[in-house]
C-alpha cells in the first residue's frame, strides 16, 4: 500500500517538477521516505538533543561530578540551588551524574556496535563470498556461539578479565556480531546469484565494480537497519551488566549504574531511579523508532 502511495507521490513530484525530469536514485527515495516519517524524525531530534546535552549538560551545572554536598543529601529536584535533578544519597548532583552517565551509555552503545559491525560484516561477507565448505564451517561456529546465552558469555569475560570499561566495550561487541554476520552472509549469498550481477559479469564489469555498484548497496540497507537496532540493544546489555554490578565502575557512571543505585532507595528518593531510567527508556525508544523508520524507508516491500 505504502509502495503505491510512494509511487503516486513520486509521480506527483515528477509532474510538479514540470519538465525538469531527473531520475532519482533509490537512496534519494529512501531519504524522502524517511524524512516523511514524523515519529522517526522526531526521534532523530530528541536523540541529537540528548547527545548534545551529554556533552554540554555537566558544564551547565555549578557542581562537579564527584563533589559531595553534605548539606544536601538526597535533595529532591528543584530549581533553587541549581539542583535540577536533585542529589543522590551521598550528595552528588544528579544533573551532572545523569549527563555523564549519558555520555558513557551512548558511547558504549555506539562503540560496541562499531566492534560488532566490523567483525560481523567481515565475517559474514567472507563466509558468503567464499561459500561452500568454508561457509559451512564458519556459520557452524556462529551456531555454536548462538547456543550460548550471550549475557553468560559477557559475564564470564568481564569477571575473568576485570571490570575495565574498554573490556565491557569489547565483550559486548565480540558477542553481538553474530546476527550481523548472518544478515551480511545471507545478503551476500543471495546477491551473488542475482540476475543483475550475472548481467554485470556478462557485460564485462570488473569484480571490484560489481562489489561496489551491486553488492554493497544491496547489503548496506539491512545492515544500517540492524545497526540502529543494535545500538539500543547494546545500551541495554550494558545496563544489565551495571545492574548486576559488573559494568561500569566508579568514578565513571552510566545510566545502568545510576538505575542500579537508585533502585535501592526507590521508596524514599524515587528520582534517583526515575530520572536515569526515563532517559534510558526514551533513548531506546528513539533508536527503535529510527530503526523502524529506516526499515520502511530502505525496504518498502516490508510494509
Amino acid at each position: 500500500m505504502v509502495w503505491f502511495k510512494a509511487q503516486r507521490d513520486a509521480q506527483q513530484d515528477l509532474m510538479n517538477a514540470a519538465g525538469a525530469l531527473r531520475g532519482r536514485s533509490p537512496w534519494q527515495d529512501a531519504i524522502t521516505r524517511f524524512t516523511r516519517n514524523r515519529a522517526a524524525m522526531a526521534s532523530v531530534v530528541v536523540l541529537f538533543a540528548i547527545a548534545v546535552m551529554s556533552v554540554v549538560g555537566p558544564k551547565m551545572s555549578p557542581y562537579a561530578m564527584d563533589e559531595l554536598a553534605w548539606d544536601a543529601i538526597g535533595a529532591p529536584p528543584s530549581l533553587d540551588g541549581q539542583r535540577w535533578f536533585g542529589t543522590d544519597d551521598t550528595g552528588r548532583d544528579m544533573w551532572v551524574l545523569t549527563w555523564s552517565g549519558a555520555q558513557v551509555s551512548l558511547a558504549i552503545g555506539v562503540l560496541t556496535t562499531v566492534v560488532a559491525l566490523a567483525i560481523g560484516v567481515i565475517y559474514g561477507a567472507t563466509a558468503g563470498y567464499l561459500g561452500g565448505r568454508t561457509d559451512m564451517f564458519m556459520m557452524r561456529f556462529v551456531d555454536v556461539l548462538y547456543a550460548l546465552p550471550l549475557l553468560f558469555f559477557i559475564v564470564i569475560l568481564v569477571t575473568v578479565f576485570g571490570r575495565n570499561i574498554y573490556l565491557v566495550f569489547l565483550a559486548i561487541g565480540c558477542v553481538e556480531w553474530l546476527t550481523m554476520a548472518r544478515i551480511v552472509r545471507g545478503q551476500t549469498l543471495s546477491m551473488k546469484r542475482k540476475e543483475f550481477v550475472e548481467a554485470a559479469v556478462a557485460g564485462g564489469s570488473s569484480g571490484g565494480a560489481i562489489v561496489r555498484r551491486h553488492i554493497i548497496p544491496n547489503v548496506v540497507g539491512p545492515v544500517i537497519v540492524y545497526v540502529t537496532l543494535l545500538v539500543p540493544t547494546n545500551i541495554l546489555v550494558e545496563s544489565y551488566l551495571s545492574f548486576l554490578g559488573l559494568g561500569v565502575q566508579e568514578p565513571l557512571t552510566s545510566w545502568g549504574a545510576l538505575i542500579s543505585r537508585g533502585a535501592n532507595s526507590v521508596q524514599t528518593t524515587p528520582w534517583l531511579l526515575l530520572i536515569p531510567a526515563s532517559f534510558l527508556a526514551v533513548t531506546l525508544f528513539c533508536f527503535n523508532f529510527i530503526g523502524d523508520g529506516l526499515r520502511d524507508a530502505l525496504d518498502p516491500k516490508d510494509r
Binding site: 555454536v144 547456543a147 550460548l148 549475557l151 553468560f152 559475564v155 564470564i156 544489565y240 521508596q267
Partner: protein, 317 residues
C-alpha cells in the same frame, strides 16, 4: 522423523563440545587461582598448593579438560568450589525455578505476540494497528529490570496485590495458587520485550502473506474473511515467528538472569554470576552446558514445529 531427531541430536554434540572448550579456556585464563579465592588472601603458599592439588588444578589445562569431559559423560559435573557440593545437584535445583519462569514468559510472548501481530495486520493503519505498534515500541524500549521494579512498587508495595519477591511463601502451602501469585510480575516483566518482537514479526509476516496469490484465490472462492485469516494466513505467517522462537529462548534465558535478581527468585542467574565471580569453574561450566543443552533442545523442538507448519520443509529433508 525419528531419524531426523537422532541426526539433530548427534549434530548437537560438536556444538556442546565447542561451547565447553570455549568456556573452559576462558575460565582457565583467569589471573589468580580458585584456591586463593577459596582460602582468602592470608593463606600460606603450602595450603594453596595443597588445595590446588586436591582440586586437580596442578595438572596441565588440556589434561584437566579431558578429565572434566570424561567425568561429565558419566554424569559427574564435579564439585562446586564454593559450595563443595555436586554441581549437577545444585544446578538442577535452581534450574526448575528458571525453567518455570522462562517457560511461562515464553508461552506469554508467543500467545500475546502473535495475537497482537494478527490484529494489527488485519487492521493495517487502523486505530488498533497504530495503538499496538506504539505499545510494542514502548515495550521493546523498557528495560526489563526497570519494568520489574516499577511493577513491584505499584502492585506489590502500594496495592499489595502480589508478593514482593521469592518464588514460594515463607509460611503456608506451596500450591499452584502461591506459585502463580509469586510468578505473575516476574513473568510479565520478562515477557514484554519478546512479546514486542514477536508482535512485530508476525505483523510483517501477515502483511507479506496478505499479498500472495493463494489468499486472493481463497477470497475469490468466497471464503469468509475470518476463515481466510485463520486457516490460510496464520499458518503461513507463523513461519518467521516460529523461527524467531529459537533465539527468543536464548534471549529470555538471558533476561531471566536479571529478573531473578530483582525478584530474588532461586534460579540459575544469580548462581551463575556468583560462580563466575568466585572463579568456580565447575559450576560455571555445568550451568553453561545445561543451558546450552536446553537451548539446543528448544531449537530442535522449534524446527520440528516448523516442519509441521511448512509442508515444503518436509520434502526437503
Amino acid at each position: 522423523m525419528a531419524g531426523y531427531i537422532l541426526k539433530r541430536l548427534i549434530s548437537a554434540i560438536p556444538v556442546l563440545l565447542g561451547i565447553s572448550v570455549i568456556v573452559f579456556v576462558i575460565m582457565a585464563m583467569i589471573p589468580g587461582d580458585p584456591a586463593t579465592a577459596i582460602l582468602g588472601s592470608y593463606a600460606t603458599p603450602e595450603n594453596v598448593a595443597k588445595l590446588n592439588r586436591d582440586l586437580g588444578l596442578d595438572k596441565p589445562m588440556v589434561e584437566r579438560y579431558f578429565i572434566w569431559l570424561g567425568n561429565m559423560l558419566t554424569g559427574d559435573f564435579g564439585r562446586s568450589f564454593s559450595l563443595n557440593r555436586p554441581v549437577l545437584d545444585e544446578v538442577l535445583d535452581r534450574f526448575n525455578a528458571t525453567l518455570v519462569l522462562a517457560g511461562t514468559s515464553f508461552v506469554l510472548c508467543a500467545i500475546f505476540g502473535v495475537a497482537a501481530g494478527v490484529v494489527s495486520a488485519a487492521r493495517q493503519y487502523g486505530l488498533a494497528d497504530k495503538a499496538i505498534t506504539f505499545a510494542v515500541l514502548i515495550g521493546i524500549s523498557i528495560p526489563s529490570f526497570f519494568l520489574g521494579m516499577m511493577m513491584i512498587l505499584i502492585f506489590s508495595v502500594n496495592l499489595k496485590w502480589f508478593p514482593v519477591s521469592g518464588m514460594w511463601p515463607i509460611y503456608g502451602a506451596r500450591d499452584i495458587g502461591a506459585l502463580v501469585s509469586h510468578l505473575t510480575l516476574p513473568a510479565i516483566s520478562l515477557a514484554v520485550v519478546a512479546t514486542g518482537v514477536v508482535a512485530r514479526l508476525s505483523r510483517s509476516a501477515m502483511l507479506e502473506v496478505l499479498r500472495q496469490d493463494f489468499i486472493r484465490t481463497a477470497r475469490a472462492k468466497g471464503m469468509p474473511g475470518k476463515s481466510v485469516v485463520v486457516s490460510h494466513m496464520l499458518p503461513a505467517a507463523l513461519l518467521p515467528v516460529v523461527s524467531y522462537l529459537g533465539p527468543a529462548v536464548a534471549n529470555i534465558v538471558t533476561g531471566a538472569v536479571v529478573v531473578e535478581t530483582i525478584f530474588q527468585l532461586p534460579g540459575m542467574g544469580r548462581f551463575f554470576v556468583q560462580g563466575a565471580l568466585n572463579r568456580d569453574y565447575p559450576t560455571v561450566l555445568g550451568i553453561v552446558v545445561v543451558f546450552a543443552l536446553a537451548v539446543i533442545l528448544m531449537n530442535l523442538i522449534v524446527d520440528l514445529l516448523y516442519g509441521l507448519l511448512d509442508p515444503r520443509v518436509k520434502a526437503g529433508r
